[in-house]
């Protein structure tokens, strides 16, 4: 167990492309830290710099207090699960897991014990003699996990480990990874672009955008109080609605002239955010929605439409059986504390 500290690191590719312009992050020992963001946000680059697969242009990375910038990946005491698993196709499952241990000259009996233990934990006992191509996708994923855990490293690094699995298996494996990580208590960094995966797995959620950290915090904290409009739009599904308007000391006046009372603001253009699941029907509600499409999901329904008098798209997640039809007009509202106000130009949270 070790903490990982990332201290004002930069990544500039030869040719001058700046992927990470300076970023700091501390991960406590035993914590599962999820890096989430759209593709190209630098999350994988960050992970690969921790692994030692990419060079750090500037700044310092420490694992367990030891500076690792100039260490080979093998010397950093980490292990990694790759998106495509990167299993050695010509080696058996056993050899795949044992390879790293052999390279470290571990005595054979101990290798045997460790691989057997890992195989037991992952339900791979019967497959140790198989080649990767004789396994299903889920089994391969578990071999990749096994290869990571037999090493008993200071940290696990996961690079989108579930994205090659089908939806059902993804949910199941997600739960298994969480349970395994909690049992072993190994510090982990987990990269994904799937916000649901991020929410369910993380102790610490890091939302990244364009090489920067937008927000760090516990998943629920990030969900309830997104620090920026980007985070608000990225975390949560369906995404948060943004209604453009003008801030006043008493509240926000939407572009269609409707006032929503929210004390504590000063002035200027804002986006008023509200999550679809926080909207509910209220005949006196301030948000008037002209319904275009109704998607029935079973327990709930997503009602798509426009804010009356504007072009702003709104989605409301409603439950119940009395659903509107296209063409209807609905009046909606949200509870106190469910409104989020962001500066329209900067995207920074105002309230």
């Amino acid at each position: 167990m070790a903490n990982i500290s990332i201290d004002t690191i930069k990544k500039i590719y030869p040719g001058g492309v700046e992927v990470i312009p300076g970023l700091s992050l501390d991960i406590a020992a035993g914590e599962l830290c999820v890096l989430v963001g759209p593709s190209g946000c630098g999350k994988s680059t960050l992970l690969r710099m921790v692994a030692g697969l990419e060079e750090v242009t500037e700044g310092e990375i420490r694992i367990g207090g030891r500076r690792v910038n100039d260490l080979e990946p093998a010397a950093r005491d980490i292990s990694m699960v790759f998106q495509n698993y990167a299993l050695y196709p010509h080696m058996s499952v056993f050899d795949n897991m044992a390879y790293g241990l052999r390279n470290r000259r571990m005595p054979k009996p101990e290798i045997r014990t460790r691989v057997d233990a890992a195989a037991g934990a992952l339900g791979l006992e019967g497959f140790l003699d198989r080649k990767p191509r004789q396994l299903s996708g889920g089994q391969r994923q578990r071999v990749a996990m096994g290869r990571a855990i037999v090493r008993e490293p200071a940290a696990f690094l996961f690079d989108e480990p579930l994205s090659n699995l089908d939806a059902k298996l993804r949910v199941k494996t997600r739960v298994e990874i969480r349970a395994l990580q909690q049992r072993l208590g190994t510090t982990s960094i987990y990269v994904t672009h799937d916000q649901l995966e991020a929410m369910t797995l993380a102790d610490k959620l890091v939302v990244m955008h364009a090489g920067r950290i937008e927000q760090v915090g516990p998943p629920l904290g990030v969900y309830e109080r997104p620090a920026t409009a980007f985070v608000a739009g990225f975390i949560g599904s369906p995404p948060m609605n943004f209604l453009p308007g003008e801030a006043h000391t008493t509240g926000v006046r939407l572009d269609n002239g409707v006032d929503i009372a929210l004390p504590g603001l000063t002035g200027g253009r804002v986006d008023l955010g509200v999550r679809p699941e926080d909207l509910h029907v209220d005949p006196a509600g301030p948000v008037e929605l002209s319904v275009r499409v109704v998607e029935r999901l079973g327990a709930t329904a997503n009602v798509h439409g426009r804010l009356a008098g504007t072009d702003a798209e709104i989605i409301a997640s409603l439950s119940g059986t009395d659903l509107p039809a296209p063409g209807d007009t609905l009046r909606l509202t949200a509870g106190a504390g469910k409104w989020h106000v962001f500066d329209a130009a900067q995207g920074i949270r105002l309230l």
């Binding site: 990946p73 093998a74 292990s79 990694m80 299993l87 050695y88 196709p89 010509h90 390279n103 290869r147």
Partner: protein
């Protein structure tokens, strides 16, 4: 086949069988000739195998055609095998190493190294006959196995094939190996070479045939008949001056000369076909 046309299908098979027959015929006839006495061959070729097979083959294998100065076939077969296998092993070894360097390292002069290797494609033995002979002579490599094989083991083709294959090996495997503590040579030995097995086998077939069938080169560098290879030795017999050629023995030699590469190509047909089409891509 899209539709049924019995006549067309019949014609197809007929053409193919005829084609195959024409292909096999010269070899069949050579075999037939090698099983008769000289007299039978020289007075109207029989179309069915005779019963002199063991006598003829025993003679060429054991004694050779001493009258025309060709050594026993056994020795020439051995020389051919040494040459073919050295060329094959040498080409594969040096091409594996150099393509590994070119694909998996960035170093100054990398592009220069690549082009230096590439240039061998443009310089077959035939276009630099005399100077190459002079180099080999001045290195004292005439009449030696080294002289027969080493000058032929630079191969751009094999280097290209491996380079192409290495480019398709996923980067993540290299990264996983690095995390597992494997340095470059360990990665090469434990992962890259085992992954190249199919390519190695295909190249083995192609290069073995190439090496075995060398003709001009052994002709240049061997004057001592104990280093003759079988493919060039057969010419010594066929052009035996004024004497009537001993066709039954020449054909026995021809059969022995073509047997090893034919066995290799047929035994490893699948790999060969894949490798050949791959190499030229």
């Amino acid at each position: 086949m899209v539709e049924r046309r019995p006549l067309l299908t019949f014609i197809q098979h007929a053409v193919l069988i005829l084609g195959a027959a024409i292909f096999v015929f010269p070899i069949y006839l050579a075999f037939v000739a090698s099983t008769h006495t000289a007299q039978e061959v020289n007075t109207g070729i029989p179309l069915l195998p005779g019963d002199e097979m063991w006598t003829n083959y025993a003679q060429v294998l054991g004694e050779g055609l001493s009258t025309v100065g060709a050594p026993p076939l056994g020795l020439m077969l051995f020389n051919s095998a040494v040459m073919a296998l050295s060329i094959t092993a040498g080409k594969i070894a040096i091409s594996l190493l150099s393509s590994f360097a070119i694909v998996y390292f960035r170093f100054p002069f990398r592009v220069l190294a690549f082009w230096t290797i590439f240039i061998t494609l443009m310089l077959p033995v035939e276009v630099r006959i005399l100077p190459t002979y002079e180099v080999v002579a001045s290195l004292g490599m005439l009449n030696s196995y080294a002289g027969l094989s080493i000058p032929l083991i630079a191969s751009a083709t094999a280097t290209f094939l491996f380079r192409q294959f290495f480019m398709t090996v996923p980067d993540e495997l290299t990264e996983a190996a690095r995390i597992d503590g494997a340095g470059p040579m360990k990665f090469f030995r434990d992962i890259l070479v085992p992954l190249s097995r199919t390519n190695l086998a295909a190249l083995f077939v192609i290069l073995f045939i190439y090496g075995w069938n060398q003709y001009l080169w052994p002709l240049l560098v061997t004057t001592d008949e104990s280093y003759y290879t079988i493919v060039m030795g057969i010419q010594r017999m066929a052009n035996a001056g004024e004497e009537t050629p001993q066709w039954h023995l020449i054909m026995a030699t021809a059969i022995m000369a073509l047997l090893p590469p034919v066995v290799v190509i047929l035994g490893m047909q699948r790999l060969f076909v894949r490798g050949l089409v791959e190499v030229e891509k």
